[in-house]
Amino acid sequence: MVAEVRKLMKRYPSFVLDEVSFDLERGKITGFIGRNGAGKTTTIKSMLNLIHPDSGDVRFFGMPIVDNKTGIKKRIGYSTGTVSWYPRKKIRDIVDIIKRFYETWDDTAYHKYLELFSIDEIKTPLELSEGMKVKLNLLLALSHRSEVLILDEPTSGLDPFSRNELLEIFTKLKEDGTAVFFSTHIISDIEKCADDIVYISRGKIIAALPKADFILKYSVDGETLEDTMLRMEGGMIHA
Protein backbone atom coordinates (compact mmCIF):
# COMPACT_ATOMS: atom_id res chain seq x y z
CA MET A 1 0.00 0.00 0.00
CA VAL A 2 1.23 3.49 -0.73
CA ALA A 3 -1.55 5.14 1.22
CA GLU A 4 -3.94 4.00 3.90
CA VAL A 5 -6.88 6.08 5.05
CA ARG A 6 -8.53 4.83 8.22
CA LYS A 7 -11.74 5.99 9.87
CA LEU A 8 -11.40 9.66 8.96
CA MET A 9 -13.99 11.75 10.76
CA LYS A 10 -14.62 15.44 10.31
CA ARG A 11 -17.72 17.13 11.67
CA TYR A 12 -19.10 20.37 10.25
CA PRO A 13 -22.41 21.89 11.35
CA SER A 14 -24.16 20.62 8.23
CA PHE A 15 -21.91 17.78 7.08
CA VAL A 16 -20.09 14.83 8.58
CA LEU A 17 -17.26 12.90 6.99
CA ASP A 18 -18.04 9.59 8.56
CA GLU A 19 -15.29 7.04 9.20
CA VAL A 20 -13.83 7.17 5.70
CA SER A 21 -11.42 4.28 5.02
CA PHE A 22 -9.69 3.02 1.86
CA ASP A 23 -6.25 2.13 0.48
CA LEU A 24 -4.24 3.22 -2.53
CA GLU A 25 -1.90 0.86 -4.31
CA ARG A 26 1.22 1.47 -6.37
CA GLY A 27 0.66 1.27 -10.13
CA LYS A 28 -3.11 1.58 -9.85
CA ILE A 29 -5.62 4.27 -10.76
CA THR A 30 -8.25 4.82 -8.12
CA GLY A 31 -11.31 6.82 -9.03
CA PHE A 32 -12.92 8.63 -6.14
CA ILE A 33 -16.51 9.14 -7.16
CA GLY A 34 -19.35 10.95 -5.51
CA ARG A 35 -21.81 13.69 -6.30
CA ASN A 36 -21.07 17.35 -5.51
CA GLY A 37 -20.89 17.84 -1.74
CA ALA A 38 -20.46 14.12 -1.00
CA GLY A 39 -17.17 14.73 0.85
CA LYS A 40 -14.53 14.16 -1.82
CA THR A 41 -12.61 17.39 -1.30
CA THR A 42 -12.90 17.13 2.50
CA THR A 43 -11.42 13.64 2.30
CA ILE A 44 -8.59 14.74 0.03
CA LYS A 45 -7.79 17.78 2.18
CA SER A 46 -7.79 15.56 5.28
CA MET A 47 -5.43 13.15 3.53
CA LEU A 48 -3.05 16.01 2.86
CA ASN A 49 -3.43 17.42 6.36
CA LEU A 50 -4.77 20.68 4.92
CA ILE A 51 -7.70 20.28 7.27
CA HIS A 52 -7.55 18.62 10.65
CA PRO A 53 -9.76 15.56 10.94
CA ASP A 54 -11.50 15.08 14.30
CA SER A 55 -10.25 11.51 14.33
CA GLY A 56 -8.79 8.87 12.03
CA ASP A 57 -5.44 8.10 10.56
CA VAL A 58 -3.78 8.77 7.18
CA ARG A 59 -0.56 7.00 6.29
CA PHE A 60 1.62 7.33 3.22
CA PHE A 61 4.37 4.75 2.66
CA GLY A 62 3.53 3.35 6.10
CA MET A 63 4.14 6.68 7.88
CA PRO A 64 1.44 8.82 9.50
CA ILE A 65 1.16 12.14 7.67
CA VAL A 66 0.75 14.13 10.87
CA ASP A 67 4.29 13.23 11.98
CA ASN A 68 5.99 13.16 8.57
CA LYS A 69 4.41 15.98 6.59
CA THR A 70 7.56 17.36 4.99
CA GLY A 71 9.03 14.00 3.96
CA ILE A 72 5.71 12.73 2.63
CA LYS A 73 4.96 15.91 0.69
CA LYS A 74 8.23 15.42 -1.19
CA ARG A 75 6.95 12.06 -2.45
CA ILE A 76 3.39 12.97 -3.39
CA GLY A 77 1.87 15.34 -5.87
CA TYR A 78 -1.38 17.20 -5.47
CA SER A 79 -3.45 19.14 -7.90
CA THR A 80 -6.76 20.74 -7.35
CA GLY A 81 -8.60 21.07 -10.62
CA THR A 82 -7.94 24.21 -12.53
CA VAL A 83 -6.68 26.39 -9.69
CA SER A 84 -3.72 28.38 -10.88
CA TRP A 85 -0.91 29.41 -8.61
CA TYR A 86 0.62 32.83 -9.25
CA PRO A 87 -1.47 33.46 -12.39
CA ARG A 88 0.65 36.40 -13.56
CA LYS A 89 4.09 34.88 -13.11
CA LYS A 90 5.86 33.09 -15.93
CA ILE A 91 5.70 29.31 -15.60
CA ARG A 92 9.48 29.19 -15.94
CA ASP A 93 9.88 31.48 -12.89
CA ILE A 94 7.39 29.48 -10.82
CA VAL A 95 9.21 26.25 -11.67
CA ASP A 96 12.58 27.81 -10.87
CA ILE A 97 11.36 28.42 -7.31
CA ILE A 98 9.50 25.13 -6.82
CA LYS A 99 12.33 22.87 -7.97
CA ARG A 100 14.59 24.08 -5.14
CA PHE A 101 12.27 22.50 -2.57
CA TYR A 102 12.71 18.99 -3.98
CA GLU A 103 15.95 17.03 -3.95
CA THR A 104 14.15 14.61 -6.26
CA TRP A 105 13.38 17.27 -8.89
CA ASP A 106 14.09 15.77 -12.29
CA ASP A 107 14.81 18.34 -15.01
CA THR A 108 14.76 15.65 -17.69
CA ALA A 109 11.27 14.53 -16.60
CA TYR A 110 10.21 18.18 -16.42
CA HIS A 111 11.24 18.83 -20.02
CA LYS A 112 9.74 15.52 -21.14
CA TYR A 113 6.32 16.37 -19.69
CA LEU A 114 6.62 19.99 -20.79
CA GLU A 115 6.88 18.71 -24.34
CA LEU A 116 4.28 15.96 -23.87
CA PHE A 117 1.74 18.44 -22.48
CA SER A 118 2.74 21.12 -25.03
CA ILE A 119 3.16 23.74 -22.31
CA ASP A 120 5.04 26.91 -23.17
CA GLU A 121 7.01 27.86 -20.05
CA ILE A 122 7.21 31.49 -21.15
CA LYS A 123 3.46 31.79 -20.67
CA THR A 124 1.75 32.68 -17.40
CA PRO A 125 -0.93 30.39 -15.88
CA LEU A 126 -3.43 33.15 -16.69
CA GLU A 127 -2.79 32.60 -20.38
CA LEU A 128 -3.55 28.88 -20.19
CA SER A 129 -6.85 27.20 -20.95
CA GLU A 130 -8.55 25.20 -18.17
CA GLY A 131 -7.23 21.94 -19.56
CA MET A 132 -3.71 23.31 -19.79
CA LYS A 133 -3.92 24.50 -16.17
CA VAL A 134 -4.65 20.93 -15.08
CA LYS A 135 -1.71 19.75 -17.15
CA LEU A 136 0.54 22.39 -15.61
CA ASN A 137 -0.39 21.21 -12.11
CA LEU A 138 0.32 17.65 -13.21
CA LEU A 139 3.63 18.72 -14.73
CA LEU A 140 4.73 20.22 -11.40
CA ALA A 141 3.72 17.08 -9.52
CA LEU A 142 5.39 14.72 -11.96
CA SER A 143 8.68 16.58 -12.21
CA HIS A 144 9.58 15.76 -8.63
CA ARG A 145 8.89 12.09 -9.29
CA SER A 146 5.72 11.85 -7.19
CA GLU A 147 4.94 8.29 -6.25
CA VAL A 148 1.34 9.16 -5.49
CA LEU A 149 -0.73 11.68 -7.40
CA ILE A 150 -3.76 13.07 -5.60
CA LEU A 151 -5.96 15.00 -7.95
CA ASP A 152 -9.12 16.77 -6.92
CA GLU A 153 -11.57 16.96 -9.82
CA PRO A 154 -8.87 17.14 -12.51
CA THR A 155 -11.33 16.51 -15.33
CA SER A 156 -14.06 18.93 -14.28
CA GLY A 157 -14.55 21.71 -16.78
CA LEU A 158 -12.48 20.01 -19.46
CA ASP A 159 -13.79 19.32 -22.93
CA PRO A 160 -14.18 15.62 -23.85
CA PHE A 161 -10.96 15.65 -25.89
CA SER A 162 -8.84 17.07 -23.07
CA ARG A 163 -10.50 14.70 -20.60
CA ASN A 164 -9.68 11.74 -22.75
CA GLU A 165 -6.11 12.95 -23.17
CA LEU A 166 -5.74 13.32 -19.41
CA LEU A 167 -7.10 9.85 -18.72
CA GLU A 168 -4.58 8.45 -21.19
CA ILE A 169 -1.83 10.23 -19.27
CA PHE A 170 -3.08 8.60 -16.05
CA THR A 171 -2.79 5.22 -17.69
CA LYS A 172 0.79 5.95 -18.77
CA LEU A 173 1.69 7.07 -15.25
CA LYS A 174 0.21 3.95 -13.73
CA GLU A 175 2.35 1.86 -16.05
CA ASP A 176 5.37 3.66 -14.61
CA GLY A 177 4.29 2.57 -11.10
CA THR A 178 2.64 5.79 -9.92
CA ALA A 179 -0.49 5.51 -7.81
CA VAL A 180 -3.10 7.88 -9.23
CA PHE A 181 -6.02 8.90 -7.04
CA PHE A 182 -8.47 11.26 -8.64
CA SER A 183 -11.85 12.51 -7.54
CA THR A 184 -14.59 13.07 -10.04
CA HIS A 185 -18.33 13.22 -10.38
CA ILE A 186 -18.10 12.09 -13.99
CA ILE A 187 -18.75 8.35 -13.98
CA SER A 188 -17.45 7.75 -17.49
CA ASP A 189 -13.97 8.90 -16.32
CA ILE A 190 -13.95 6.01 -13.86
CA GLU A 191 -15.35 3.64 -16.46
CA LYS A 192 -12.53 4.50 -18.86
CA CYS A 193 -9.43 4.19 -16.75
CA ALA A 194 -9.88 3.34 -13.06
CA ASP A 195 -8.67 0.04 -11.61
CA ASP A 196 -10.28 0.68 -8.24
CA ILE A 197 -13.34 2.60 -7.20
CA VAL A 198 -13.93 4.47 -3.97
CA TYR A 199 -17.54 5.57 -3.90
CA ILE A 200 -18.61 8.18 -1.35
CA SER A 201 -22.10 9.39 -0.67
CA ARG A 202 -23.16 11.92 1.99
CA GLY A 203 -19.82 11.62 3.80
CA LYS A 204 -19.79 7.81 3.96
CA ILE A 205 -17.83 5.34 1.90
CA ILE A 206 -20.33 3.08 0.18
CA ALA A 207 -17.80 0.96 -1.63
CA ALA A 208 -14.01 0.76 -1.94
CA LEU A 209 -12.97 -2.11 -4.18
CA PRO A 210 -11.62 -3.03 -7.63
CA LYS A 211 -13.82 -1.85 -10.49
CA ALA A 212 -14.46 -5.39 -11.67
CA ASP A 213 -15.61 -6.44 -8.19
CA PHE A 214 -17.75 -3.34 -7.93
CA ILE A 215 -19.55 -4.20 -11.16
CA LEU A 216 -19.94 -7.81 -10.07
CA LYS A 217 -21.34 -6.83 -6.69
CA TYR A 218 -23.60 -3.91 -7.55
CA SER A 219 -24.48 -3.97 -11.26
CA VAL A 220 -27.46 -5.88 -12.55
CA ASP A 221 -27.47 -7.42 -16.01
CA GLY A 222 -27.22 -4.97 -18.89
CA GLU A 223 -26.42 -2.00 -16.66
CA THR A 224 -23.52 0.32 -17.36
CA LEU A 225 -21.42 1.58 -14.44
CA GLU A 226 -23.18 4.91 -14.82
CA ASP A 227 -26.63 3.24 -14.57
CA THR A 228 -25.49 1.34 -11.48
CA MET A 229 -24.20 4.41 -9.70
CA LEU A 230 -27.21 6.51 -10.59
CA ARG A 231 -29.46 3.76 -9.23
CA MET A 232 -27.36 3.44 -6.07
CA GLU A 233 -27.23 7.20 -5.51
CA GLY A 234 -30.98 7.43 -6.12
CA GLY A 235 -31.52 4.69 -3.54
CA MET A 236 -29.27 6.53 -1.10
CA ILE A 237 -31.28 9.73 -1.42
CA HIS A 238 -34.58 7.98 -0.96
CA ALA A 239 -33.21 5.83 1.89
Binding site: L48, L50, G71, Y86, K89, I97, Y102
Partner: protein
Amino acid sequence: MRNILRKEMRLSASVLSYLFIVFGLMFLLPGYPILCGAFFVTLGIFQSFQAAREANDILFSVLLPVAKKDVVKGKYLFVCLIEACALLLMAISVILRMTVFSESDVYRSNALMNANPFALGMACVIFGLFNALFIGGFFKTAYKFGRPFVSFIFAAFLVTFIAEALHHMPGLGVLNAFGTDHIALQFVLLAASIAAFVLFTLLSYRKARENFERIDL
Protein backbone atom coordinates in the same frame (compact mmCIF):
# COMPACT_ATOMS: atom_id res chain seq x y z
CA MET B 1 14.53 28.61 4.97
CA ARG B 2 16.38 30.32 2.15
CA ASN B 3 13.99 28.62 -0.29
CA ILE B 4 10.84 29.86 1.40
CA LEU B 5 12.24 33.41 1.60
CA ARG B 6 13.17 33.23 -2.08
CA LYS B 7 9.61 32.09 -2.83
CA GLU B 8 8.26 35.08 -0.87
CA MET B 9 10.50 37.52 -2.68
CA ARG B 10 10.06 36.22 -6.21
CA LEU B 11 6.56 34.76 -6.30
CA SER B 12 4.46 36.15 -3.46
CA ALA B 13 5.72 39.73 -3.31
CA SER B 14 4.19 42.66 -5.11
CA VAL B 15 6.69 44.95 -6.80
CA LEU B 16 5.16 47.78 -4.77
CA SER B 17 6.65 46.31 -1.60
CA TYR B 18 10.08 46.95 -3.07
CA LEU B 19 9.24 50.33 -4.60
CA PHE B 20 7.65 51.67 -1.42
CA ILE B 21 10.91 51.12 0.51
CA VAL B 22 11.90 54.46 -1.02
CA PHE B 23 9.36 56.14 1.28
CA GLY B 24 12.01 55.66 3.96
CA LEU B 25 13.63 58.73 2.40
CA MET B 26 10.65 60.80 3.57
CA PHE B 27 12.80 61.25 6.67
CA LEU B 28 14.54 63.94 4.64
CA LEU B 29 11.35 65.95 4.09
CA PRO B 30 10.98 69.10 6.15
CA GLY B 31 7.51 70.25 7.19
CA TYR B 32 6.03 66.80 6.78
CA PRO B 33 5.06 64.20 9.41
CA ILE B 34 8.01 61.93 8.62
CA LEU B 35 6.57 58.85 10.33
CA CYS B 36 4.04 58.67 7.48
CA GLY B 37 7.03 57.30 5.53
CA ALA B 38 6.98 54.22 7.77
CA PHE B 39 3.25 53.86 7.16
CA PHE B 40 3.71 54.04 3.37
CA VAL B 41 6.34 51.29 3.58
CA THR B 42 3.79 49.06 5.32
CA LEU B 43 1.25 49.97 2.63
CA GLY B 44 3.66 48.47 0.10
CA ILE B 45 3.95 45.29 2.17
CA PHE B 46 0.15 45.14 2.39
CA GLN B 47 0.10 44.96 -1.42
CA SER B 48 2.16 41.76 -1.24
CA PHE B 49 -0.38 40.13 1.04
CA GLN B 50 -3.14 41.15 -1.35
CA ALA B 51 -1.24 39.82 -4.38
CA ALA B 52 -0.40 36.62 -2.51
CA ARG B 53 -4.04 35.96 -1.67
CA GLU B 54 -5.06 36.40 -5.30
CA ALA B 55 -2.33 33.92 -6.29
CA ASN B 56 -3.47 31.20 -3.81
CA ASP B 57 -0.07 31.63 -2.21
CA ILE B 58 -0.91 30.24 1.24
CA LEU B 59 -2.31 26.95 -0.09
CA PHE B 60 0.56 26.67 -2.54
CA SER B 61 3.10 27.23 0.26
CA VAL B 62 1.48 24.69 2.57
CA LEU B 63 1.62 22.08 -0.19
CA LEU B 64 5.36 22.58 -0.57
CA PRO B 65 7.52 20.18 1.44
CA VAL B 66 8.00 22.60 4.33
CA ALA B 67 6.52 22.71 7.81
CA LYS B 68 3.50 24.96 8.24
CA LYS B 69 5.44 27.08 10.75
CA ASP B 70 8.02 27.78 8.03
CA VAL B 71 5.31 29.32 5.85
CA VAL B 72 4.69 31.78 8.68
CA LYS B 73 8.40 32.32 9.17
CA GLY B 74 8.81 33.07 5.45
CA LYS B 75 6.19 35.84 5.62
CA TYR B 76 7.75 37.38 8.73
CA LEU B 77 11.26 37.20 7.25
CA PHE B 78 10.12 38.88 4.06
CA VAL B 79 8.32 41.66 5.93
CA CYS B 80 11.26 42.21 8.29
CA LEU B 81 13.60 42.37 5.30
CA ILE B 82 11.53 45.12 3.67
CA GLU B 83 11.28 46.96 6.99
CA ALA B 84 15.04 46.65 7.53
CA CYS B 85 15.72 48.13 4.07
CA ALA B 86 13.38 51.05 4.82
CA LEU B 87 14.98 51.55 8.24
CA LEU B 88 18.37 51.68 6.55
CA LEU B 89 17.19 54.53 4.29
CA MET B 90 15.66 56.25 7.31
CA ALA B 91 18.90 55.81 9.28
CA ILE B 92 20.91 57.31 6.42
CA SER B 93 18.48 60.25 6.34
CA VAL B 94 18.79 60.68 10.10
CA ILE B 95 22.60 60.63 9.93
CA LEU B 96 22.52 63.25 7.17
CA ARG B 97 20.20 65.46 9.19
CA MET B 98 22.34 64.99 12.33
CA THR B 99 25.58 65.87 10.54
CA VAL B 100 25.67 67.57 7.14
CA PHE B 101 22.28 69.30 7.52
CA SER B 102 22.32 69.77 11.30
CA GLU B 103 22.38 73.57 11.02
CA SER B 104 20.12 73.81 7.99
CA ASP B 105 17.46 76.52 8.44
CA VAL B 106 14.86 74.51 6.63
CA TYR B 107 15.14 71.73 9.23
CA ARG B 108 15.74 73.98 12.24
CA SER B 109 12.57 75.97 11.51
CA ASN B 110 10.55 72.78 10.99
CA ALA B 111 7.56 72.80 13.34
CA LEU B 112 7.11 69.08 12.96
CA MET B 113 9.17 66.24 14.37
CA ASN B 114 12.89 66.26 13.61
CA ALA B 115 14.43 63.16 12.02
CA ASN B 116 16.66 61.98 14.84
CA PRO B 117 17.29 58.60 16.59
CA PHE B 118 14.04 59.02 18.55
CA ALA B 119 12.11 59.37 15.27
CA LEU B 120 13.90 56.32 13.90
CA GLY B 121 12.84 54.46 17.04
CA MET B 122 9.22 55.49 16.49
CA ALA B 123 9.43 54.07 12.95
CA CYS B 124 10.61 50.81 14.55
CA VAL B 125 7.58 50.90 16.86
CA ILE B 126 5.27 51.40 13.85
CA PHE B 127 6.87 48.45 12.06
CA GLY B 128 6.59 46.36 15.22
CA LEU B 129 2.90 47.22 15.45
CA PHE B 130 2.46 46.29 11.81
CA ASN B 131 3.99 42.88 12.45
CA ALA B 132 1.92 42.35 15.56
CA LEU B 133 -1.45 43.69 14.41
CA PHE B 134 -1.40 43.07 10.68
CA ILE B 135 0.64 39.90 10.13
CA GLY B 136 -0.45 38.43 13.45
CA GLY B 137 -4.07 39.30 12.60
CA PHE B 138 -3.77 37.86 9.09
CA PHE B 139 -2.59 34.49 10.38
CA LYS B 140 -5.71 34.11 12.53
CA THR B 141 -7.53 33.18 9.32
CA ALA B 142 -4.79 33.17 6.65
CA TYR B 143 -7.09 35.05 4.27
CA LYS B 144 -8.73 38.02 6.05
CA PHE B 145 -6.56 41.09 6.21
CA GLY B 146 -9.04 43.99 6.14
CA ARG B 147 -9.66 44.24 9.87
CA PRO B 148 -6.01 43.64 10.83
CA PHE B 149 -4.94 46.43 8.49
CA VAL B 150 -7.56 48.86 9.78
CA SER B 151 -6.47 48.22 13.38
CA PHE B 152 -2.88 48.79 12.34
CA ILE B 153 -3.82 52.10 10.64
CA PHE B 154 -5.37 53.35 13.89
CA ALA B 155 -2.32 52.25 15.90
CA ALA B 156 0.15 53.72 13.40
CA PHE B 157 -1.55 57.10 13.28
CA LEU B 158 -1.91 57.17 17.05
CA VAL B 159 1.86 56.58 17.40
CA THR B 160 2.53 59.26 14.74
CA PHE B 161 0.23 61.73 16.49
CA ILE B 162 1.77 61.08 19.91
CA ALA B 163 5.34 61.20 18.59
CA GLU B 164 4.61 64.48 16.79
CA ALA B 165 2.92 65.98 19.86
CA LEU B 166 5.35 64.89 22.57
CA HIS B 167 8.15 67.38 21.89
CA HIS B 168 5.69 70.26 22.22
CA MET B 169 4.95 69.17 25.81
CA PRO B 170 6.75 71.01 28.61
CA GLY B 171 10.07 69.28 29.44
CA LEU B 172 9.97 66.96 26.44
CA GLY B 173 11.66 69.25 23.94
CA VAL B 174 14.77 67.04 24.19
CA LEU B 175 12.96 64.48 22.09
CA ASN B 176 13.31 66.82 19.14
CA ALA B 177 17.08 67.13 19.51
CA PHE B 178 19.17 68.37 16.58
CA GLY B 179 22.67 67.28 15.64
CA THR B 180 24.32 65.38 18.48
CA ASP B 181 22.40 67.16 21.25
CA HIS B 182 21.17 64.79 24.01
CA ILE B 183 22.72 61.97 22.03
CA ALA B 184 22.81 59.50 24.93
CA LEU B 185 19.10 59.92 25.63
CA GLN B 186 18.35 59.71 21.91
CA PHE B 187 20.16 56.40 21.60
CA VAL B 188 18.54 55.00 24.74
CA LEU B 189 15.14 55.80 23.22
CA LEU B 190 16.20 54.22 19.92
CA ALA B 191 17.40 51.07 21.69
CA ALA B 192 14.14 50.83 23.67
CA SER B 193 12.14 51.18 20.45
CA ILE B 194 14.19 48.49 18.70
CA ALA B 195 13.55 46.23 21.70
CA ALA B 196 9.82 46.97 21.35
CA PHE B 197 10.01 46.07 17.63
CA VAL B 198 11.74 42.77 18.39
CA LEU B 199 9.29 41.98 21.19
CA PHE B 200 6.18 42.79 19.10
CA THR B 201 7.53 40.78 16.17
CA LEU B 202 8.62 37.71 18.12
CA LEU B 203 5.47 37.49 20.23
CA SER B 204 3.23 37.90 17.21
CA TYR B 205 5.31 35.38 15.22
CA ARG B 206 4.90 32.75 17.94
CA LYS B 207 1.16 33.39 18.17
CA ALA B 208 0.81 33.40 14.36
CA ARG B 209 2.54 30.01 14.16
CA GLU B 210 0.13 28.55 16.70
CA ASN B 211 -2.91 30.05 14.99
CA PHE B 212 -1.85 28.97 11.52
CA GLU B 213 -1.18 25.43 12.68
CA ARG B 214 -4.83 25.18 13.78
CA ILE B 215 -6.36 26.60 10.61
CA ASP B 216 -8.15 24.36 8.12
CA LEU B 217 -7.28 25.45 4.60
